[in-house]
Amino acid sequence: MKRRDFLKNCIMVIAGASVPLSALTLVDPRKVLAANPDIQWAFLINTEKCVGCGFCVKACKTENDIPFEANVTRTWVERYVYTKDDRRYVDSPKGALYGYTESRVDLGRGEFKEIDPKNVGKAFFVPKLCNHCGTPPCTQVCPVGATYKTDDGVVLVDRKWCIGCGYCIMACPYAARFFHPVLKVADKCTFCYHRISKGLETACVNACPFGARRMGNIHDINDPVTQVIMNERVGVLKDEFGTKPQAFYIGLAQEVR
């Protein structure tokens, strides 16, 4: 053995022996995340529990001062009706602000379609709101830096700084944004930032009698909502857009987008 090889081997043995065994155990990412309780808000919607009462929409509009009768809303509920002869109908009159009190489907432009009850195959309701995407396209397009994603994962609009150009409204693939008819700025769901930062549930979660809407910290491994997202079959809307939506749906159908 040459002296060079001998020294090399000695150094390797010493270096290997100096690494304690504990450092070789695999790091559990769950434990690491649980140790650093940073908040990352996520929403969980159980479409199987929704009955389309629209209390969430009413509560949201009241809580956030959205003009009640105006045809804009931060959250809405859609109705999907599939008939047995394979036709699909979707509507959301006034965003379901007054719930679904009629069996006829609103086709838009003042036209309605009464569906024969015997012909109804399946029907369900889907609540929708801003997905607070991980990579939100709306904040990318803002020319003045008025909309942004906070460190805890909520996409907000700076009402003082917004110039109302509407780029973000067009950029959102989920049509979650609208033009505020009174303030003349872009407006959207804030996850009730004033409520969640005080430890309260959002207005829509609070108003839902059936627990169809839930909210949690997706970085907290012990959060019941995170548990559901990790362990059950959930889906997101328009995954192919690469927006990384943070609103997860249980019981999602292919037609729901």
């Binding site: 509560a59 007054y98 679904y100 029907a123 309701f125 700076d158 700084w161 804030t190 004033h194």
Partner: protein, 163 residues
Amino acid sequence: MKSHVWRPLYVVIALVVGLLVFRFFYVPNDFGSGKRGFMYSFHRKSNAEEWKKQPVKYSVTGKQKMHEYCSECHGEEVKVRTEKLHGVIPCEDCHGPVLNHPEAPEKLDIDRSRELCLRCHTSLPYTTSERKRIPGIDPKGHNAGVQCVKCHNPHNPKLEDMK
């Protein structure tokens, strides 16, 4: 280079400097990006605090702490009135948001309208939806125009217990 090149260049430089000076005074000092980087979170950082200052109108009456806020004063009443079927409905859905109650609105404005009940109790032929579990009526056929609360007790909706 000749002066016919320099002169417009001075104008351009003056415009750029002017723009930078204007920007220096106009853009707030706290403009910056958080840990999401420039692309997703270039913003006025004090804005998040402004959003947090919005008034909270609905208190905790929902699933998080069912009826807790109301129970602080109306304890016994809340207990009796929520042990029946409609106990899953947060008080504020019908009684309205409790902002500043009991000071400013001494009495809450209760929504007793027929439309409120019909949100859930309109009969829809959707056998696959959760709606099927809720008893429904035909709004046009079942005592049209009469408030539901005239006959039904909203806190104890069981038909057997009807007056």
